[in-house]
């Protein structure tokens, strides 16, 4: 009897001791992303950015080993993300939550991070409200209003158009984008002559582009998720003769991802898009990043998702250095606030008030360079903040 109790106690003490020893020299980061399902490619690009950063900077920070635990949500599932966040914290004992391909994932995990007081780094999900859900959330990607409000203003002031038609994918980010663009555009003096939302099903845009053609606007603003939709929409617009310079096409950068441009061919020429990162931007840090990324990923080029993951890891590493390896969420947030660095995207700053990124918004145009169509930066709007935080 006593022998058994003694054995159990010994085992228990042993386990506690080993858990403690473990906690002392490793820092566990739980990544919650949509590794499978329709957004798997986005998650893979983020992961490649994360991997590249760890490959370049080692897996040891402030004397501790970084351990990554990946969890797959399979898509925009808030409940699944919440469950995975709980599992990561309770069972795997992670110190930091990170990743978050999609807004529902981030919102699902936010409450858990808040209650468990865990540092949470959002590396992609782009709805403004996310960082307001917990004081321990910091974001390293961008927000849709940040890009598109600035873009709307630019379209009127420098894009040379007075009226525009908006066509966005019928889901929350699409609605956000059309609202943001319309706000920037109309505040500057422009008019929105029509607005449509296209369903998320099979990308057959013929009906919508015909509606746009009927309205014959000076410009069209579109927002659609990356994947199958950009080339389909680009081709549909071209089929109706809605191409620059007769009709200006404005969009968030997904429309002119490299694969989409390749598929669209010459019809992509002249499309103007906005993004917070441009692979083609000539800059020593960016060039080195693009080269290393391609070497590590069989020639695949980085995109905003890769940069979100890369900078997210940078933020975690630097914050840990400042706290001396402490994973206390409040200390990590304090270390992140106001942090600024030169990223492949250019200069970026973590806004000490909103914990969101302050960064340059790039305006790019598809042009032919050395026989290759690519996104050429034609203008830069520096130090743009998300316009929605605190604007209630």
């Amino acid at each position: 009897m006593f022998a058994r109790i003694a054995a159990v106690l010994a085992l228990g003490v042993g386990l506690m001791w080993s858990a403690q020893a473990n906690a002392q020299d490793t820092i566990k980061i739980g990544l919650i992303m949509a590794y499978s399902g329709p957004f798997a490619d986005t998650a893979n690009q983020m992961q490649a950015g994360i991997d590249l950063y760890m490959q370049q900077h080692g897996d040891e920070v402030a004397g501790k080993k970084i351990e990554i635990i990946k969890k797959d949500t399979g898509g925009p599932k808030a409940d699944e993300a919440k469950r995975l966040a709980q599992e990561l914290i309770v069972r795997d004992g992670v110190d930091i939550l990170a990743g978050f391909t999609l807004t529902p994932e981030a919102l699902g995990a936010a409450a858990v991070a808040d209650q468990a007081k865990k540092f949470m780094v959002v590396m992609n999900a782009a709805t403004s409200i996310i960082t307001e859900k917990s004081p321990y959330i910091v974001r390293t990607s961008m927000t849709i209003p940040q890009l598109n409000t600035a873009f709307g203003k630019w379209a009127y002031e420098k894009g040379g158009v007075k009226q525009a038609y908006t066509l966005v994918a019928d889901y929350a980010p699409g609605v956000d984008a059309s609202t943001a663009f319309a706000k920037g555009f109309t505040d500057a003096g422009g008019t929105i002559v029509g607005a449509d939302k296209s369903p998320m099903g099979p990308p057959d845009f013929s009906a919508f582009v015909q509606r746009i053609k009927d309205a014959s606007p000076e410009a069209v603003f579109v927002f659609i998720p990356g994947g199958a939709q950009p080339p389909a929409l680009g081709k549909a617009l071209a089929e109706r003769g809605l191409t620059p310079p007769n009709t200006q096409i404005f969009a968030q950068g997904e429309l002119t991802f490299p694969e989409a441009i390749k598929s669209m061919g010459d019809t992509a020429k002249g499309i103007i898009t906005t993004f917070n990162y441009t692979m083609e931007r000539d800059d020593p840090i960016n060039n080195a990043f693009v080269k290393a990324y391609r070497d590590a990923n069989k020639g695949r080029s980085p995109d905003i998702y890769s940069v979100g993951g890369y900078d997210g890891m940078h933020l975690i590493y630097e914050a840990l250095k400042k706290t001396g390896g402490s994973t206390d969420a409040a200390a990590l947030v304090k270390a992140s606030e106001g942090m600024s660095w030169e990223s492949p995207r250019g200069k970026m700053v973590i806004d000490p008030e909103t914990r969101d990124v302050i960064q340059t918004v790039y305006i790019r145009k598809v042009e032919e360079v050395d026989g290759q169509l690519q996104n050429v930066v034609i203008d830069e709007i520096p130090d743009v903040k998300d316009p929605l935080h605190g604007a209630k």
Partner: protein, 287 residues
């Protein structure tokens, strides 16, 4: 206004023809063989990837890659049919559904492993790009091509199943397997051929779909719902039914989005519900 209507009808028809090529094979296997093959979309995806490899790695022209897509999908499906599917012909529908949907998951994971999760663009020959102007209207050249291909396939299938010896054997094997066997028809190989034909058509559909809707590892899931809708609205086993249903759904979808964009993607389901409510066996269904 009339002009717009013509364009909307044309675009809807082209979209419908894509749905038709994707689903007609399913109509054949489901209707003629009573086998619920949810993996049909996976064979379509296979055909798509076959075209991508053929054009990009082997340098074949796009038109030549289409038969390649058909053959690859047909051959692979026969291998599966001989080893796996045939064990389930007599099993319950639930078993068939569970097995084949599982296969779609395996196919999606395999595609992601081999080709990565990115979209696979293809480059079309010059004459299929851009638009063809006719009577003042601009028609997408690729859409015209799709409609022509679909009409040819319909013609060949109807002729093949109604007027050839093989077609007669298929129909006999379906109507009364035991009697057909008694008459010396090798039902086993007839079914294998039919299955290959259906899957090959799916592969061809997948190859044709890349230009319109793209190709990634989740293709097998995305279009499954539309395939099922076309088959059920058209009536099981009826090629003409699938053709009419696909055209109708394509036109309803595009016209719905054009005239009532608020309804969005809902129109296709509304049409399905109404038709199945009035004709549960489908438009030209026998059972």
């Amino acid at each position: 206004m009339i002009g717009n209507l013509a364009i909307v009808l044309f675009d809807g028809l082209a979209f419908g023809m894509l749905l038709f090529v994707l689903s007609v094979g399913l109509s054949v296997t489901l209707g003629l063989m009573n086998f619920v093959n949810l993996a049909h979309g996976a064979f379509a995806m296979l055909g798509g990837y076959a075209t991508v490899v053929a054009t990009r790695e082997l340098g074949l022209p796009f038109l030549w890659s289409l038969p390649v897509a058909f053959i690859v999908a047909a051959l692979v499906s026969v291998a599966f049919e001989r080893t796996l599917f045939r064990r389930l012909y007599r099993a319950g529908e639930l078993n068939q559904v569970l097995f084949t949907i599982g296969l779609v998951f395996v196919a999606a994971a395999s595609a992601a492993y081999v080709f990565g999760t990115a979209q696979q663009p293809i480059e079309l020959p010059e004459f299929l790009r851009g638009v063809t102007e006719f009577a003042g209207f601009r028609f997408g050249s690729y859409r015209i091509f799709l409609i022509v291909v679909a009409l040819v396939i319909t013609g060949l299938l109807v002729l093949g199943l109604e007027y050839t010896r093989f077609g007669a054997q298929v129909r006999a094997a379906v109507d009364n397997q035991r009697a057909a066997q008694g008459l010396g028809i090798d039902v086993d190989s007839v079914f294998a051929m039919t299955f290959a034909l259906g899957s090959g058509l799916a592969g061809l559909g997948g190859a044709l779909a890349i230009e319109m809707v793209g190709l990634d590892p989740s293709f097998g899931f995305h279009y499954l719902v539309y395939m099922m809708i076309v088959v059920s609205v058209g009536g099981l086993g009826s090629i003409a039914g699938s053709f009419v249903a696909a055209s109708l759904l394509g036109v309803a979808d595009v016209a719905g989005k054009y005239f009532v964009p608020e309804l969005g993607a809902f129109m296709i389901y509304l049409v399905m519900v109404v038709i199945l409510f009035m004709r549960p066996q489908g438009l030209i269904g026998k059972r």
